[in-house]
Every structure is written in C-alpha cells, then in structure tokens.
Symmetry: C2
Subunit: 432 residues, 2 copies
C-alpha cells in the first residue's frame, strides 16, 4: 500500500519537529496551566478523552471533604458544607464551559441515566403526535441502547440516521434527534448549529451528547438554541474516574420538563417528605437520588483549573487545533504517506480534539496501543483498528504531540515494511 | 398529658443508668469496633441512619486511589486497579451482609435509580397479565415517586397499601409489591419472610427496600426467597455521603431480568462497542453507566469494618436490640411517662435499629433536634414531630444512649411543664 522508498524516517526531520515543538510550547499561553495537573515522568498522556489527568488541587480538597466534612461535621455538611446544593452549583460551573444559561445544568448520575431523562423528557415535551426518535447512527453505543429503551417505554419508533443526515431526516413525525457533538471514534465535530436549526425547523427537539466536546471546544448551548444536552465530566473536564454527568434543560423547557426518574432530590420540597411528587423549579428538576458527594466534590475541585489566568474557550480551541494540526504534520513527517489513514476531518470546523488513525493493515489497534504504552505514549483504541490520540489543551504540550508521532513510527515501522521507526528500542508491531 | 408530679428527673436514677451503661460497654464484644471509626469529642452521634460515621480506613485508601490510581496509573486503573469490576466486587461484599447469593448484587447509581430498575424489571418478569404494582403506603417518598413513574411507563396501576396489609392485598393482578424493610419514620421492622411468602403465594414478586435495615440486622435475602431488592450504603454501611446504592436480582431471575436502563456497562461485551444491546450475565446486567469510582472505592474501604474480629450479623443485631432497649429505659427513667410517645414497636421482632419518639405537644421536631445538637447529641428528625435516634451497633455505645436520653430530658423539660431536665445548662425547648 505504501511506497517503501518513502518510508524511511529521517532523523533530521524529527530534530526539526522537536525544535518546532519547543518553540510552540514556549509561545503557548496555556503552557502554565499544565503545571496544575499531575504528570508521570516520561509519559505522554493522550488519553484525556477517556480519563482526564488529575488536577493537583483535587487530593487536598477531597481529603478535607472526607476528614472534616464527612468525618467531623457529618450530617451537618448537607447544609453547612453546601453538599445539598452541589449538583446545581457544579452545574453552573459546567454551564460556563458549555455556553449554557445559569440554572440550566445539573450534575448527577451517569451519562446513560441522563440520556434516558433527556430522551423521555424530550419525547414528552414534543407531544404525542410525534412518534419518532432519530438517533445518530454512529453514536457511542450506550446512547443507542438507552434510546432504544426510551423508545420502547414511550411507544416511539427509533430511527438510526447518519449524523450528517439528521438535518434532512427530521420531519413532522420527529419528536427529537439525539446527536453526538463529536464522534467518539473518528473525532469528527458535527454541525451543532446547523443540525439544531434544521431539527427545529421540523418542529422537533435537538438533544446533544457533549461527552467528547465539552471542555475541548466552545459548544454554545444557549447561543444555538439547543433543547436538551448531556455529557460526562471525566474526559476533557478532568473530574476523575466516573465523575458524575450532567443534564442541560433549556430554560424555556424547564417548566414542562417531566422526568422519568422523579426521585426525591428533584422534588420541590424534598424534606417535607410529601407522598405526592411536585417537581422543583429549574435545573434541580433533573435530580434523582442522593448525589455521590465524594465524586461530585472531586469534580468541583477539578474545575478550578478553568479559573486560571488565560484559560478561556477561545484559547483552548485555538491550542487544540494547533496541537492536532502539528500532530498530523509530525505523523506525516515520520510515517510514509497513507501508512495510517487519518480518520479525523482535516477541516478545522469539523474536527474535535482528538486524532483518529487507522492502524496499518495487518495490525490491530489493541496491539499497537499496548506497544505505544510500553514506550510511554498512552492512547486509547477502539476495535478493531482505530487509534485515538486525545489532545487536552490544558495539559498536552507540543512536545507530547511530537513524541507520540515518533513512538507511533517506531511501533508500526516493521508492520509497514521497514526496519524500524524513529527509534529502534522498545516494542514494535509486526504485520500478522 | 403527663402527671407533673412524676416529671422531675431524679439525679440518682441518672447516676445508676450511667453506671449501667459503663458496665454494658465494658461487656460489649463489639466495643473495640468503635475504634475503627472517627469520633468527635463530646458528641453523641445518633444519626448514622442518615449518614454513617467515617471509618478510619477510608481517608488513606481514598488518598491512594486519587494520587496513585487516578494520578499515576490513570486509564490503566480500569483494569490494573480493578475499577471495572468494582460494582460486582463491592456488591459481593454487601451480599454477605444482606444474606444474598454471590453474584446477585451490583453497586451503582442511587437508590431511586435502582428502584426504577427493580420495578420496571420486576413488572416485565411478572408478565403482561399482571397490571398492578403494590407499594408500601408509608414508604420513603422517593420509592413512591419512582413507583408512580414506573407504573406510568409500564401501563400498570399503582396501589398504595399499608405495609401490614400487603400480604393480604396481593392477588392475581399483582405484578409485584415494593416494601420497605424498616419504616424510615417509625423504625418498625416489617415482616419480610411472611410478606414475601404471601406475595409469592399470589404469584407476584417481592421487592424490598433495605435502606434502613442492611447493616443493622440480618436480612436473609436468599433464605427468604426475595425476588429483587435495593438499598443505600451511606446509612448503616457507612459508605460516605451519597455512596452508591445496590441492586439485588435473585439468581433465578437474572437471565430474564430486562433493565429499563440498559447502559453500556451492563452489556455483555462493553468494549466491543456493538450497536445492539446484549445484556451481561449475572449481577452486571444491573449496571448502567460508568460508576463513580471515588465514591464506590470509599465505600469498599468502609466495608472493611465488617471483617473485624467479632463482627457478625448476630452480634450486630443483639447489640442493636440491647442498645434500643436500654435507650428506651433511659428515656422512661428521665422523662415522665408519655412525655414523648414511643413510635417504634416494643417487640424485638418488629423493631429496626432506631427509636422514633414523638415530640411533646407544642414542640416541633426541628427545634428539639437543633437544641439537642447544641448539647452535642446529633439525631435526625422528620416533620412535623418525629425525632429519630439511630443506633449503629458498630460504633454506638451504651454511654451514648444514656447521654442522649439525658440531653433529651434537658431539652424538652420546660415544654412538658417542669423547670428543667437532667441538666439545666444548654438549650431547652419551651412549648409554643
């Protein structure tokens, strides 16, 4: 598939890229933010799109929550330490990152549970005459599984449609469309404004899954009139393993939002212990049961990095694109053309903050990712052949990007017909 | 209501009770376990039925999870630190406390979310011809709210029935009955074996909420043939604020259990990223989304107290009954008869691990509880007039019980017509 005469890696090219990375890092206005995160010596961590790195503020804050708020204040912390209000308070901090209105976002439960709330609540908002749910056909699987359950339980028809065709597929029978803002596999950024407008033109609601976009690029929920949205907080928001997800309900829909999970935390007066359910006003209506406070407050501490000097979404987006552009150049410089097909769109307006590469024929993604990890470059992979390189602008450096490309060349070198890649030491993958 | 001539507190009586408390504590085989928990000097904590005290093992374990497993191993911890298996692993530890089979219990989500899974899943197991859901009429409200939603979404009729009448109310149209094992208000222990048997005789399923019983007394889920159960872990299991809840599905039902929240964590092969849902075998089928690992692993560390020498459910139950008996004697010794109506059954077989007292007329529960807290006795209350004294056998001492009764007498003394209670200092409550 590739011309072997082109494949030999040029050491001078790598030296130039290294120097360029150093220059770019020195000029990076977000470079100081990297120091707010814990790093592992010698490791390039490009899996922040699966689990964000640890913000240094978290351990001390969480230790205080455990020892003082739980250990000493105990039950009083629900009021005195602000535990009770945490889902809305942290929700408002996330709202600033997703461009949502204050009071529109609540943090609780997992993404899957919030997809269920959003879809059933959305179907009820859309009304009984609209009997179809459109779902992004390439969706992260859990969204599809939950959408199927929501459709079954609300007697709607589930219609999988490629994301690019959602806009034209929405019609008079469409209740809502569930779309991923960034495709988890390819890293493609979908057209949120255009799709939302088209879905609205059909009289339906737009529900967005922001798992792979929030924290990596501007979303503009309010600006673009999104109806409902969900997202996780453990990727680009660095909230920690399984940190709670969030639900966005546009203010115009809140009063009629009718959750399928009307737990006592979403009641208007939870401690009145009334036998009848009366939903709370505002974002709290999306709450269900008692929030997992330790995970929630770790997330809250993790969000402090967004208050650091110079951190804003424009800077984050600019660096994200610069990083991914640079990484693509590095890959193309150290690997022969076509050795790893680039699955992520080149156009900035269609690119999220990850680069997905297809493994060379004869290799598989798991083996390549494991070999990269042994060399110190940690990435994610999706079966059978997709390598995901995630770039978190708050802590990924240009040096990281250059090193990852060099490691990739070293690992897949043998599989694409050469002797070795940029560096001969460490694991390599041979074609099977 | 009470004879004023009887109300004066006898100091000698209190001295005798104090001495008796000291003797009982010295003879208590569970007394050493108290040292495994963090305590606050001078505070009597009888609110473990809302939020259990902090086990001392938690802070160090959680610090290691954050700094090492998240901070250094990062994404590898899903496999190398056993994060992925934690919901089932911790579930098996809870199963030992609830008398459930290994592989029957999974920890995830809140109690409310698990009630939804259990009820919808239970209705589906019961089959389409059974169109009624019976629910404990005095249930903790969230169970009732969620039951109403489950009934609405499965087109069943919700029938609230007093817990004692569930057995006779179950009939050929009953799909399932949802009952609280211990009433959160009165502390009454319901007849789990008898009610379960009667519900089964009607061909229906028994679903138990164990929030106020698990960890305080033997439950015997397997022994009594319970079909489905849920419970929280932050009360008598001391898992921390909002620690995740659990779902029990009897092994005989697992293969047909059809969750309304089929998230990717409950898939047979989650990382295959298949577009169609195929449920996992066993307890994992009850999982939904990514578990909140920090809260979950804090709970796991908290459960270590159950491995301490001498800790078993028989010892826990024996001490619980001895504590509550003793507390009632103390209350009756330092307060005039009838000053505070005892709402908790006297019969051991109908008593959980809390004592609920009704405030004297003219006082309200919040004010009394706040005055008690100022004196250092922390309890819970439910509007308008119920005081809840929770006894956690693993860390509550007999001295705590005696002191709480004395503080109560001091606080409500003026309201019941006397000059003061056992001690004249500190806040008191007057009748309004």
């Amino acid at each position: 598939m590739s011309d072997l005469s082109e494949r030999r890696v040029e050491a001078p090219a790598r030296a130039a890229l290294r120097a360029e990375a150093a220059r770019r890092d020195a000029a990076d206005p977000l470079a100081p933010v990297r120091e707010l995160f814990a790093h592992v010596d010698g490791e390039v961590y490009l899996d922040g799109n699966s689990l964000g790195a640890l913000p240094k503020a978290v351990p001390e804050r969480l230790a205080s929550v455990v020892a003082h708020e739980w250990g000493r204040l105990r039950i009083r912390s629900w009021t005195e330490s602000g535990w009770w209000q945490a889902p809305e308070r942290v929700g408002d901090r996330i709202a600033r990152i997703t461009g949502a209105e204050p009071g529109s976002t609540v943090v609780s439960d997992s993404t899957s549970v919030n997809v269920f709330k959003a879809l059933v609540g959305g179907v009820r908002l859309a009304g009984p005459e609209r009997d179809e749910i459109l779902v992004d056909a390439e969706t992260f699987p859990t969204d599809g599984y939950i959408a199927a359950s929501a459709a079954r339980m609300t007697d709607r028809r589930l219609v999988p449609v490629p994301a690019a065709e959602i806009a034209s597929a929405a019609g008079p029978r469409t209740a809502l469309a569930l779309v991923n803002h960034v495709d988890y596999r390819s890293g493609e950024l979908r057209d949120l404004p255009g799709t939302t407008a088209a879905v609205h033109a059909a009289g339906a609601l737009a529900v967005w899954d922001l798992c792979h976009s929030a924290g990596a690029l501007p979303v503009g929920l309010a600006e673009h009139g999104v109806d409902l949205a969900v997202g996780c907080t453990y990727k680009y928001l660095n909230g920690g393993p399984g940190s709670p997800a969030y639900l966005y309900v546009a203010p115009r829909h809140q009063e009629r939002f009718d959750s399928p999970l009307p737990g006592w935390n979403g009641h208007r007066d939870p401690f009145a212990m009334e036998s009848g359910y009366a939903p709370a006003e505002g974002a709290a209506r999306g709450r269900v049961g008692t929030p997992e406070i330790l995970s929630l407050l770790a997330l809250e501490a993790a969000l402090d990095v967004w208050d650091a000097d110079g951190v804003d979404l424009a800077a984050v987006r600019a660096k994200s694109l610069e990083l991914t552009d640079f990484f693509l150049r590095c890959v193309e410089s150290v690997l022969p053309a076509g050795a790893c097909e680039v699955l992520t769109p080149r156009r900035h307006e269609r690119r999220g903050s990850q680069i997905a590469l297809r493994c060379p024929p004869g290799t598989d993604a798991r083996t390549v990712a494991e070999a990269l990890a042994v060399r110190g470059t940690v990435i994610d992979h999706r079966p059978p052949d997709v390598l995901r390189f995630g770039f978190t602008p708050l802590y990924t450096s240009f040096a990281d990007a250059e090193r990852a490309a060099a490691d990739l060349a070293a690992v897949v070198g043998p599989a694409i017909g050469g002797e070795d890649g940029a560096e001969a030491d460490g694991p390599q993958v041979e074609a099977v």
